[in-house]
Symmetry: C2
Subunit: 143 residues, 2 copies
C-alpha cells in the first residue's frame, strides 16, 4: 500500500520506509523506522543530537545509543551519508545520496547542498594522482 504524504513534511510512509530498510538488509524495528521518518525525509543535515531531540518528541524513551547505532547502520546500508565539516565537531547526516557539494552560510551556520551542475572543476594534476572522490565546501554568505 502506498499512502500519500500525510503532511507536506513526510516524504515516505512508514510502509515505504520499512521496505527500503528491508531491501537494504536492515531489520525494520520500531526505533529505526521512527528515526528514518526524520532522517530520510524532512531532516536537513541533522546532527545525532538533533535526531535525538526529534525522536524524543516522536518516540519517547529512545536512547542516544540507539540513535547513533541506527545512524551508523543507515550509513553502512547506503541509505544515508555522513559528513564532517570544519565548523563543527559533530557529524551531519545527509539523505541526498547523489554526489554533490556544500555551501556553508557563515552568517547562519546553514548548510546548503550544491549540485554538481552548479560548478565545474578542471584538474591539472600529475597522472600519478588517481582521484576517486572530491569534496568541495564553499563558505560565504547568502543575501
Amino acid at each position: 500500500m502506498k499512502a500519500k504524504n500525510q503532511t507536506p513534511n513526510h516524504c515516505l510512509s512508514p510502509n515505504e520506509i520499512e521496505s527500503r530498510l528491508k531491501s537494504a538488509g536492515v531489520q525494520p524495528t520500531a526505533q529505526r523506522i521512527a528515526i528514518c521518518r526524520f532522517v530520510l525525509c524532512e531532516a536537513k543535515h541533522p546532527t545525532a543530537e538533533q535526531v535525538k531531540a526529534w525522536a524524543d518528541l516522536n518516540f519517547p524513551k529512545i536512547s542516544l545509543a540507539t540513535v547513533y547505532n541506527t545512524l551508523g547502520i543507515l550509513v553502512q546500508a547506503g541509505l544515508l551519508k555522513e559528513y564532517r565539516f570544519p565548523h563543527t565537531e559533530s557529524s551531519v547526516y545527509d539523505n541526498n545520496l547523489t554526489s554533490h557539494h556544500h555551501f556553508l552560510d557563515e552568517a547562519t551556520g546553514e548548510l546548503i547542498d550544491i549540485e554538481p551542475d552548479q560548478l565545474s572543476v578542471n584538474l591539472k594534476l600529475k597522472p600519478s594522482f588517481k582521484i576517486k572522490e572530491m569534496e568541495i565546501l564553499l563558505k560565504g554568505t547568502r543575501s
Copy 2:
C-alpha cells in the same frame, strides 16, 4: 621516494622565529619558540599530539595544554592555519599560509597540498551566493 608536492619550508633560526612572533604580537617565550621550530618549519600537517611528541624530545616537560594554547595563538596570529578533515578527529596545522587545497592519499593517510594552479573551478551559482572561501579535498591514491 617521489618528491613531495609541497612548498618547501625554509627552516627558521630561533632569532627569525622570535622576530616573526614579535611582529605578530605574540610574546616569544621559550616554549613558543620551541613549538615554532617544528610547526613553522619541517612539520607537515602535524596534529597537536604530533607536536607534543616532537616537543617531548626537544623541550622536555612542555605540557599538552601549552601545546594546544600555543597552536591556538599561532592560528589567531595568522602564522598557522588549522584544518579539520573528515578522515580524522584531530585538527591538523599547516604552515602553508597561501590559499590552497588538499589531496588525501587514502592508502597511506598522507595529506598533500594542492596549489591553486593545479585545478580550476568555475562557479555557476545564483548571484545571491557570496563565496568568500573554497575548500577542496581530493581523495584517492598516488602511484
